[in-house]
Amino acid sequence: MSGLSELFAATRAQNRAALIGYLPAGYPTLAGSADMFNALIDSGCDLVEVGVPYSDPVMDGPVIQAAAETARAGGFRLTDLFGIVEKISAKGGKAVLMSYYNPIMAYGADAFARDLAAAGGLGVITPDLIVDEAGDWLAATEAHGIDPIFLVAPSSPTERISRTVEHTRGFLYAASTMGVTGARDQVSSLAPDLVARCRELTDLPIGVGLGVRTGAQAAEIAAFADGVIVGSAFVSAVTEGEKQARALAEELAAGVRGTVPAIS
């Protein structure tokens, strides 16, 4: 059983969803990055997504774009990823990476999976890689015991969802809206339907992301998904400070346990 399967087995047993928090690596600073991930885990995140700051993030909205640019300006290099992941797993935390595919290709798919596995990372979310093009990547992740995590979107027809879940390990990432990352006021009505369509095709845990920012929204999603993924809202909170980030994690952690009033 992979680390991610264990994680979701545990949260399912507790009858709740997992809270998954995203930050770009090297944010707010390169030196303080691992500590910030650990603070999120401390305050209630079951899993963190370590984002690879990329020059051309087509699936990201302005908040994450700006944070990624800050991280790159702060000297972030690809090899820094593995040190950050190591510091998270050394404290018993669970981490996956989120990376556009070109940095992985440049590093070498096999070397990337190998070095992530050595650092204790569990999987990689690849937002701009579809299974049709993933031959090399699947071979690399398989060889090193890393979970390849693919996305499905509200526009994905059944046939594409089947093909995607066939190659996905750990959990399936369901994009709740058609659009880029960014906190939104309302949970998209497309998400429950997408998750229901996926459930008919797979037993994989399903994480729902894009747009979540409050405990109430987390509770709403936790009612039908196995994981609630929060990105831009954490980035904005971290921009304000660690205290704000911890407070948000606590609010969301209550949300995924369904213990938050439905207004925020």
């Binding site: 087509v58 640019e69 996305l151």
Partner: protein
């Protein structure tokens, strides 16, 4: 493609052209367009859409290059475009409308000009100019835009988005949207809105919304990122009218097919004018649409060299350039596996060129393939060489080319000398230079009282141009 001396209806080869038939010529893949052949025998845009022996695989691969490296959320709309194009390319109604608009609105065919004074000055091969600068809106971009805008209508989409660098694709798109009654939003890097201010004004006058993009390097690649973000958000109503022969499948093939008319026409025009094929076809390469359009009809003519001129900026050695194939490496950018400019970490490197239309760190996958198999050559032309050539063509032929096209002129002049007087070099003049007058005024200091400091630079015809090649 068989020699264009083959008339679509009779299959007769004119005796004068027989010698140019390649041995393994396949029967002409004739288009389903219903109009009778043109009296002058020139092909029409629909003849570019018939399918070729050089089409990509179903997955969109030209050899090792191409494919669909994009978010799952975009697969649906991209599939929709592929299906619509697959049908349209064989639909007589679509083909006839494309041909009609190209002729009565776009101004096709574009002529080939015998550049006698330039040829004499250079003293090498005979130089011929394919005049895409004479098209409506001033460049080859309209060829692609009319095709895709008609496709948008067929697909029932009401809103068009596009990226633009030099603004030529944006202007062409805004033009077609005005003509066909479509809403139009153009994404343009902030830096480009400043250096191509005239084109921003043209787009606005044509009714388009121009969005200045500040992210990243605030140039063409960032405008493309922003257009993709818009598309993923508004997929159901919106058509992304991509401006070059790059991006995810089917765009590299579709844009190429709408641009193939350049080479199809030119091939026959050169035969008609000179009785033979050119020794080389030369075009500038940004994303690669005018170049692939000019090259494609000659792919099976083994003796015709295909030479792409990339933007060399301050020179490849300085790192400030946009010579993607000459100095880049293979990666995935904007939907395709192709050559690109990237650092060790796979971060895209900002490109640099005086020409906004060539200032792009990627290139279409078919060019990467042609480079990999050695069928096309790619060279690098610096800003200075391009500007020298811009002045040179202006003063010898009375044609002010776009700075993009001036890169082709600069490279072709060197090539004409290398090839010598027995040869013929065909240059695709992809666009006119009106949009670049501000840059030219600054570069040549034309706004003082005097006549300007432009000299009829022999340096552009001499040895200095070869320093980057």
């Amino acid at each position: 493609m068989p020699a264009r001396g083959v008339s679509a209806t009779s299959g007769q080869v004119s005796p004068r052209l027989e010698q140019f038939q390649t041995k393994d010529v396949k029967p002409s893949m004739t288009s389903n367009a219903t109009r009778p052949p043109r009296a002058d025998g020139l092909p029409r845009p629909s003849d570019g859409l018939t399918g070729t022996p050089h089409d990509p695989t179903d997955g969109g691969y030209f050899g090792d290059f191409g494919g669909r490296w994009l978010p799952e959320a975009l697969v649906g709309v991209v599939d929709e475009v592929a299906e619509a194009f697959a049908k349209a390319r064989h639909d007589p109604e679509f083909l006839d409308e494309l041909d009609r608009l190209a002729e009565t609105y776009g101004g096709r065919p574009s002529p080939v000009t015998d550049a006698e004074r330039l040829t004499a000055l250079v003293g090498g091969a005979r130089i011929l100019l394919k005049r895409e600068d004479l098209n409506h809106t001033g460049s080859h971009k309209i060829n692609n835009v009319l095709g895709q805008a008609l496709l948008t209508k067929r697909m029932g989409k009401t809103r068009v988005i596009a990226e633009t660098g030099a603004g030529q694709h944006g202007v062409a798109t805004a033009t077609a949207c005005a003509l066909l009654g479509l809403e139009c939003v153009i994404y343009m890097g902030r830096v480009d809105t400043e250096r191509q201010a005239l084109n921003v004004a043209r787009m606005r006058l044509l009714g388009a919304t121009v969005v200045a993009v500040d992210s990243g390097s605030a140039t063409l690649k960032d405008a493309i990122n922003e257009a993709f973000r818009d598309w993923v958000t508004n997929a159901s109503t919106t058509y992304y009218l991509f401006g070059t022969a790059a991006g995810p499948h089917p765009f590299p093939m579709m844009v190429r097919d709408f641009q193939r008319i350049i080479g199809l026409e030119a091939r026959q025009q050169v035969l008609d004018l000179t009785g033979r094929l050119p020794s080389a076809v030369v075009a500038c390469v940004g994303g690669g649409s005018n170049a692939i359009g000019a090259f494609h009809a000659f792919l099976d003519d083994a003796d015709v060299r295909l030479v792409g001129m990339e933007a060399g900026g301050d020179g490849i050695a300085t790192g400030r350039h946009a010579s993607t194939i000459s100095a880049g490496s293979v990666g995935v950018l904007h939907g395709a596996r192709s050559f690109m400019m990237q650092d060790e970490d796979g971060q895209v490197i900002e490109s640099h060129s005086i020409s906004a239309g060539l200032d792009y760190p990627g290139v279409g996958p078919e060019h990467s393939h042609l480079a990999a198999i050695g069928r096309a050559e790619f060279r690098s032309i610096t800003d200075t060489e391009a500007m020298d050539a811009l002045a040179l063509l202006s003063r010898t032929e009375g044609i002010i080319p776009a700075i993009e096209s001036a890169h082709a002129v600069a490279g072709a002049v060197v090539l004409a000398k290398e090839i010598g007087p027995e040869g013929i070099v065909l240059i695709n003049v992809s666009g006119r230079g009106d949009k670049d007058m501000e840059t030219a005024m600054e570069w040549f200091q034309l706004n003082g009282d005097g006549p300007g400091t432009v000299t009829t630079s022999t340096s552009a015809t001499g040895n200095t141009t070869s320093k980057e090649s």
